[in-house]
Amino acid sequence: MGRTETIGGFFWLFFSLFISYESYRLGLGKVNQPGPGFLFFWTGIVIAILSVVVIVRSFSAKASEGEKEATAGKRRLTKIVSVLIALFLYALLMEWLGFIVVTLLFFLFILGVVEKKKWLFTAAVSVLITLLTYLVFEVALQSQLPKGLLGFLRF
């Protein structure tokens, strides 16, 4: 798999070494009274060894498949990134805006901007889904969804 493998290997190598260092600071304890860092120090070491194996193997393997994929989907990548941005905004804004507003905006964005459906259609579907999910989760299942801006309406 070549380069992607090497990157993955190095990522986990640094991750595990960091964990081992942290665990060491937490205290390994003695063998007859293992401390809070004991298990994780050794887990970190094992992962580090395994990632070295992955890295070494990645050099001996042919660099082939990874490159082909990169060209295949630039448009798809923008799609994934836009969806991710929408998701994070949802998470960050949900408590302030409240479930109804944020869900409505989320669907308007996904259907209208990402999927490029017609606006009237988008609006209708978004309103419908927001209402339905609100009824199912808040009214029927009594999840406590954030009320946010519309909290004053007390529904």
Binding site: T4, G27, Q33, F40, V83, L87
Partner: protein
């Protein structure tokens, strides 16, 4: 024997309460639905619906969540046969012959046989569970910390052995899961670990947000990249009841699949996916006409479908008797039980008999419901399949958002889920399997506690793990599993088609 019968009768008393019947029905219905929908597996569905069970009684909640799991095994086969897209991983093999049968106009018998096979196997597994469960519970009472430690090590190695992709990477992911389980308060020393002064990490990393991220969000991201094509066969589904000839061909396949699946289900780390692959391989070997496999052999549908259902039933055993989840789905179920204040393990049967027997018996009932639900409702499930992906994926995302928020009414869990969604997406791209991570995350705390307790017991002598026979046996299995791939360079069962 009389004891068991008494308990089963008691279980029926619990499971037949109208409220539990309702949740059982709801569970298998949702299960079939997520089984039908590609891109949403039982693990994500259970994680998603878990917060909605917080207000229910533990029994009702478990009955419903269990229903989702074995319901999904039924539903998954429908899409495999009609669309050649497995609704979830355990029905990947069903595509091979099921879709070919459908192309030859035999979609009806294929669907029918997979439903009947699933029903027979599911029922077999539940009956076996009834008898094996109490036996194992008693056995497990003799387990001390070293035995638990070794057993969990076996569980993790089995899963890494079976999981897709490189075993080295799977082991690494198990290690990462273990480390994640250490985040938060160390209960023995009373010290915070790996929290880096982040408020959200003080309570540790929850299984549910991680599972939703790794299985739900990342799956959607993957699909956005590849765009699923779905050509639903236009054939009308008729003759759902298989003919006498079909039965004659399939009867033994179902029997073999049931038995095989059950035992593969019990082994921690095994489970429905492996069982279905193993059964297909065996059926092909046993058949007098192996050349028909892949061209629409009904045994290739009956065997694996029986095996995956039986395994789904079997995998409840280690959870209910030992407190050890056999696969990621059971791991989430374990989390669910713990949220409801129950500690799965050998004492569950005595401490919460209503839960133990009620859940088991509800599976008999649920299997019956599924048979009734599946055959007449197939046209409806086909309609569900026609929901376009541009509508389906924002819905799945929304459910994940709601689900992770409702866990603790905190947006921090949502952010954590999204972070693991991205990680899961990258892991899939780089060929790392998420299942070992989840299993290790769930087992982590127990694993660490039993390791530390064992070492305290033995005054720091590691030989305690090999001087006790049960523990030694477990460790030998684990070591064998680690050595076999190095020696044999075998091709993985689960690596055949991509997950």
């Amino acid at each position: 024997m009389v004891d068991i019968l008494n308990n089963v009768v008691y279980g029926f008393g619990v499971a037949l309460q109208p409220i539990n019947l309702m949740y059982c029905f709801f569970g298998v219905l949702v299960g079939t639905l997520v089984g039908v929908l590609p891109g949403l597996g039982p693990a994500a569905a259970i994680a998603l619906l878990l917060p909605t069970t917080f207000k229910l009684a533990p029994v009702s909640a478990t009955i419903m969540l269990a229903g989702i799991y074995y319901g999904a095994m039924y539903g998954g086969s429908t899409t495999s046969i009609l669309v050649n897209i497995p609704g979830e991983a355990a029905s990947v093999v069903t595509c091979l012959d099921g879709y070919q049968m459908a192309r030859k106009g035999r979609a009806g018998p294929a669907l029918g046989m997979s439903a009947f096979g699933s029903f027979i196997a599911g029922t077999f597994a539940v009956i076996a569970l009834t008898f094996v469960g109490p036996f194992l519970s008693n056995l497990a009472l003799a387990f001390g910390p070293p035995e638990y430690f070794s057993l969990m090590i076996v569980g993790i190695t089995v899963l890494t052995y079976l999981s897709s992709g490189s075993m080295i990477k799977s082991l690494m992911m198990a290690g990462v899961g273990l480390i994640l389980s250490g985040v938060g308060m160390d209960t023995i020393a009373g010290k915070y670990r790996f929290t880096f002064n982040v408020q959200a990490l003080l309570d540790g990393v929850g299984v549910v947000p991680v599972a939703m991220g790794l299985f739900g969000i990342s799956e959607v991201l993957m699909n956005l990249e590849t765009e699923i094509k779905r050509d639903i066969l236009k054939t009308r589904v008729k003759n759902l009841f298989p003919s006498v000839k079909d039965w004659a061909l399939s009867a033994w396949s179902i029997v073999r699949g049931s038995i095989l699946g059950f035992f593969l289900g019990i082994i921690p780390g095994g489970g429905a996916v492996v069982a279905s692959f193993a059964s297909y391989a065996i059926e092909k070997k046993m058949s007098k006409h192996p050349e028909e496999f892949g061209k629409g052999a009904i045994q290739g549908v009956a065997g694996p479908e029986a095996a995956n259902n039986s395994a789904a039933g079997g995998s409840f055993i280690p959870l209910l008797t030992l407190g050890i989840p056999a696969n990621p789905v059971m791991a989430i179920l374990l989390g669910a039980l713990m949220i409801h204040g129950l500690q799965p393990g050998p004492l569950l049967m005595t401490n919460a008999p209503d839960l133990f027997w009620g859940t088991i018996v509800s599976m008999y009932i649920g299997n019956g419901m599924l048979l009734v639900l599946n055959l007449p409702l197939i046209p409806m499930w086909v309609k569900v399949l026609k929901v376009p992906y541009w509508l389906l994926y924002p819905l799945i995302l929304l459910f994940c958002l709601i689900g992770s928020y409702s866990l603790d009414n905190s947006a921090a869990d949502v952010v954590m889920m999204l972070a693991f969604g991205i990680l899961g997406f990258l892991m899939k791209k780089f060929g790392y399997d998420g299942a070992p991570l989840i299993l290790a995350l769930v087992l982590g705390q127990k694993l660490e506690t039993s390791l530390r307790r064992s070492l305290i017991m033995s005054h720091g002598d590691f030989s305690i793990f090999v001087s006790r026979p049960i523990s030694l046996a477990f460790l030998i299995i684990a070591v064998l599993l680690l050595i076999i791939p190095i020696v044999t360079q075998r091709k993985k069962l689960s690596a055949l088609p991509d997950e």
